[in-house]
Amino acid sequence: MKHLRELLFPLIAVIAAFVVGGIFVLAIGDSPIKAYSELIGNAFAWPDGIGYTLFNATPLIFTGLAVAVAFRCGLLNIGAEGQLYVAAFATAWVSMKFGGVVVDVFGQKVSYSWMTLPAVILVPLAIFAAIFAGAFWGAIPGFLKARFGSHEVINTIMLNFIAVALCSYFTQYHYKVPGDPIMQSAPIGESAHIAHLGKFIPGLPERIPVNLAFILALIACALVYVFLWKTKWGYEIRATGANPSAAEYGGISVRKQIVLAMAVSGGLAGMVGINEVLGYHHRYYDGFSDNYGFTGIAVALLGRNHPVGVLLAAILFAILLRGGIFVDAFTDHVSKDIVQILQALVILFVAAGARYRGSLNVFGLLKRSKV
């Protein structure tokens, strides 16, 4: 019962968003039913609809979890975007340096490799690199807040710019195949590739890019749940988020929790790099993120900062993301921007409802800046 009620509130926000969105569609001169059936209906087609939905959901699960963990500690991590860029670059770099000889875009055999590691070592190493790099990038604003009291929202936003620019710089000047017109790194070693789920699931073609990172995302949901609610570390993080003064009273080092939560958050955001680099592009591809880090904030908000909620919200947003293409193609007037409108409306309704549900108060959090 308790859990059903938790679900009810976001559900109302989503329904309200669709109702208001429907008015927009009507105003443009299309049928909301037609538009919504294009938007959502295609997501459930097997195998393409479901496969792509899960592929699109994977990064959003990671970033949603990232934002949720930080939020549970009373922090607003706007920096998942930067953390996932740094992580993607790090995992690509490791996979190039230890991936052996590869075939570049011109069909030439090239090697950026120091040594060739087998997949059993390289894949875990590359995964570790993504998590570590994301965690490092996330811990920076955590440290700045803990040490100097500077607000994490400002610092994470600034670090986003730095992350994107740094990755572009290294791609352009150090890791691009000379002559390649696209801003992307050289390919990563094949032993670093992780399998598409099609390889294991009958009826799911291997061309659909949903890959093992999705399984990792599910595991991450479970681990985040255990971490937050079943370990003493999670207790300390949540206590800090719920009431820093009471946490201090309970002998908890608030500063330490801030750095830890931001590191865990960054590490989770960094896992997006596994999906994008090891599972899909097989290289660092400049500007690969479709605002995953920012959409993650909406995912966490709608998912009430709970792993199960994040999973469901990520799937919903993934459905919308892909449905937008069909709306574009198969309705007369409505464009895929309807997705943006719906996302914005969902957030508005969740935020409006938060007034009545104390625990979700983002705006209160923004006001509170002292350690």
Binding site: T231, K232, E236, R238, N243, A246, A247, Y249, G251
Partner: protein
Amino acid sequence: MLELRNITKRFGDVLANDHVNIKVKPGTIHSIVGENGAGKSTAMRIAYGFYTPDSGEILVDGEVREIRTPHDAIALGIGMVHQHFMLVEPMTVAENIVLGAEPGTTAALDLNKAASEIRALSDEFKLAVDPHATIETLSVGQQQRVELLKALYRHARILILDEPTAVLTPQEVEEFFAILRRMREQGKTVVIITHKLSEVLAISDEVTVMRDGRVVGELKTSDTNAAELARLMVGRDVLLRVEKPEAKAGETVLRVQNMVVAVADGTRRVNDVSFEVRAGEIVGVAGVEGNGQTELIESLAGLTAQSRVSGKVDFAGRDITNMSARDRKELGIAHVPEDRHRRGLLLDFDLAENSILGIHYRQPAVTGLGGILLDEKGIERRARQVIKDFDVRPPNPDLPARALSGGNQQKLIIGREFELNPKLLLVSQPTRGVDIGAIEFIHRKLVALRDAGCAVLLVSAELEEVTALADRLLVIYHGQIVGEVDPKQTSNEEIGLLMTGGKKQ
């Protein structure tokens, strides 16, 4: 004058006011007493237009009136002074008073006119408030008088005062009562919401007693006494005095030497304080709030994130001056903080999770994986133990702490700390905002802990509480201990004098 007739108000599942009838006669001082949650504030907020009742009617001067907003109430001559003052600190008295009712034309503010009116009012009631003073330079008692002026300036004939004496020293209370009596002489009607029975008897003409949302008694003050009022409030006989045997003080547990606590701007909140607390005794600290009690207790508990501590603190012969809060707790120092919402509880966490705050990292809260995983069974056992021993209601470990009444929240905290079997208990405002029934219970537990050989350092803003509980009483003023008195020998006047910086005779 003011009459509530059959007022009913429901908040969710809670029936806050159940067919409440209150009749306030003109030119009287009328007290409304009751425990927390009895519905006395709700009733008065309805009269002031903060809430609209579900049913029932409000009569002013014998006529049924619709009061939907405080604006309506003010228009009818009803003013209210809240427990927490609503003043803009950097602005002057006059500016604060006219706020929302600015004189002059639409564009120009005529502050001089306001100031002279305020001065006239202040003289009429002998309030001695300077309209041009800034609020932050005023004492708490003066700020309260500014709040009174605010209502008078708006031509209030009926003044509703919510817990007006909570922030005042004994001397200020006397002055305040004199002001109220003058107001009564001038024909004003005063309604006081309070839970302090001695004040009810001292000042009011009539008293309405509320319990569980209902009016359970309407009495003339001259016909009643404290015991009867307490019985009506609680619904059973209450022991108003603390009964305790003579203290058997043992070895020194806490020795504080020349302790100084400075905050970020360099101000010394605790200034060169030295004292001792021995096993088996309760040492009380009396003082007007804000004279360093908070910083003293928190520094001793190791909560020094916002301050710097120097001097020397010994606990059972060990130097703990620079020890962390966690290590101190491990040594046997428990702490009941003054503000249960800010410090003592995680309001959104359930009772079980709250019952392990501070020991969440060790047995019995953790199990498996080298003590990383929380032991839910152990936590629940602990919670049930606290709930049972300290009569926390409702006795459900899965409820969020927010759902409990103030008294039960306080019992949860006290239970959690007592369960540690401390050698030293630092306890601040143990019964603030707690009902009489629970106060009695908490006082008995404190005495029992003392008799079990624990050293207790007690801070309370309730002078009666510290004098009743303490075996020795220290008085703190401006961060310094200005005197030690024997609580059995002293008078409120003597302590009050020390509390405000006067010298001991």
